[in-house]
Amino acid sequence: MERFLPLFTAVPLLAGFACLLLKRAAPRAAPALSVASMATLLLLASAAAIRGEEGVAFAGGWGVRSSGEGSFVAGIALVLDGLSRLFLLLVAVVGTASAVFALRYLAPEEGLPLFHVLFNLLVAGMNGALLAGDLFNLYVFLEVASLASVGLVAWRTGGAEVEAALKYLVLGTLSSAAILLGITVLYAATGFLNMADLSVAVSGGAVPRVPLLLAAGLFVAGFGMKTAAMPFHAWLPDAHPSAPAPISAMLSGLLIKTLGIYALLRVLPVVTGMDGDLRAVLTALGLLSMWGGVLLAQAQDDLKRILAYHSVSQMGYVLVAVACGTWLGVAAGIFHAVNHGLFKSALFLSSGSLERVAGTRRLSGMGGLFRRAPATSAGLLGACLSISGVPPFNGFWSKLLILVALLSAGQPAMAGLAAGAALMTLVTFVKVQRKALFGPLPARLEGAREVPASMFLPVLALVLLCLASGLLWPAGVDGLVGSAADAVASPDGGPGAVRAYVERVHGGGPR
């Protein structure tokens, strides 16, 4: 499998630049190329997930070198472990659904190949960030993904959306500057960029504490802004609804997790360790987002803005769970992040379908659409049940797991707050269903018609995955999530997980 690791970024890059090259000669080829590259990634990622692959690939035949003080990594390493495996699979699944959805959602026009260039660059950036073994490559791929996403948010727009994109880009650049500053501070203190080497240097105890704390603070602020945790959330409710529906699905379903949650989970334990102060900060951020997001969502009428505020809220759950520091908490957080990726992308895709059906995104302009567009409505209904935590959908199990993790970590108050926020989520989505799908059909919508199959099938497939991940918990899902959690924390609470990461990196590749 090591040999195939570069393909995770090379395939979307290849497809993206082929779209650009064929912009004039074969503009119709671009959507097909996107679907093909996503399908290839899906194949690769499922093969890796099913076979439980782990490994390290070194670019250009470099590898691990030894010196008098121990071994270190020379060159660029790509690391595949339980955590990156699971997120690669999530990126491939949601990417495929969005690419298929975009086939009929976006009208063919002159600039369409450029959309697919940016779409593929976005996926390449996210996959690269998931595989990067050193901090600087993580930063570079993160920037590739965020720049591509800014271009997509501002896609085909002249006005208000450009402002949203501008705000997104300014705040995104600010967070990237914080991350780069953190990387610089760590490099100055240790002389390493590779995360395994860094972890060895830090656990050796020779690194002073001040730069480590400074770097950890900068990383929490930077990645927290990418996650849109509450004090840093201002850009998300503007940026995500402005994008076309498949891109909203990619941004809310994937980007905030791969650039935010994944990066936090990867960088903090390996580099600085999850100590008590850091966990308190993360808990505070999570609690604020959990409640702030859900409360702000109540006041919205625009369906996509409701969904965007709920992304903030759901990321709060993940942060609170991860901040437990226990293996169970990390596993619950990862499981919820993955589930959120599935149902939130289904929600955003079906919001695009509903907009097509009803001609508006305002809930007050919808009603009774279940009879007019049954397949789209069924998709939306399933995703709503999932996000509100109704059994047997996956949202229920991961929220339950978070509550159990909080209780077993001795935080009953936190568990109560989380349960309260979950109840508020249920209230919002009951409102969404009642206003959009049921009730009287406005006279204006008498002629509303169902969207084409290539738009409702991806949504239904995502909802089926939500159901499957809820029902088939013991049959494979627990293995996937468990091995992802193993990569971050060990069940006994010791530093075993980080040590395993170091051994995997230092033991791989040519010498």
């Binding site: 402002e163 880009l169 650049t173």
Partner: protein, 116 residues
């Protein structure tokens, strides 16, 4: 030491400009200054007083070379980060141009969603 102080000044100037200036173009310039602050810090971290250019010539002793030259890694990082900064600035300017066409001004207070 003076260079570290300069880094702080640049970072401070960038953040001040980003928050206090109302003109979009000035905000973009402030963001660029902030970027340069981080880049300068990277270069300063890799600098060694009196160090030579990090090019290993044939026949040179690697150990002596490692002691006597500046750290080349931050230089490579800064090059990459400058290119990223260029892409960001280009995108920002393009969007500012669009907004100028729409509103006829670059004053953020007169734009609907950028206020505050």
């Amino acid at each position: 030491m003076i260079l570290y102080a300069l880094v702080l000044v640049l970072l401070g100037l960038g953040i001040h400009g980003l928050l206090a200036k109302r003109n979009l173009l000035k905000k973009i310039i402030a963001l660029a200054i902030l970027d340069y602050g981080v880049n300068l810090l990277l270069i300063v971290v890799g600098y060694r007083a009196g160090g030579g250019a990090p090019i290993l010539l044939p026949g040179e002793d690697p150990a002596a070379f490692a002691r006597g030259s500046v750290d080349p890694l931050p230089q490579a990082l800064v090059l990459t980060s400058i290119v990223i900064g260029l892409g960001v600035t280009m995108l920002l300017v393009a969007m500012a141009l669009r907004l100028h066409q729409r509103y006829g001004t670059l004053d953020v207070d007169r734009m609907d969603r950028l206020r505050g």
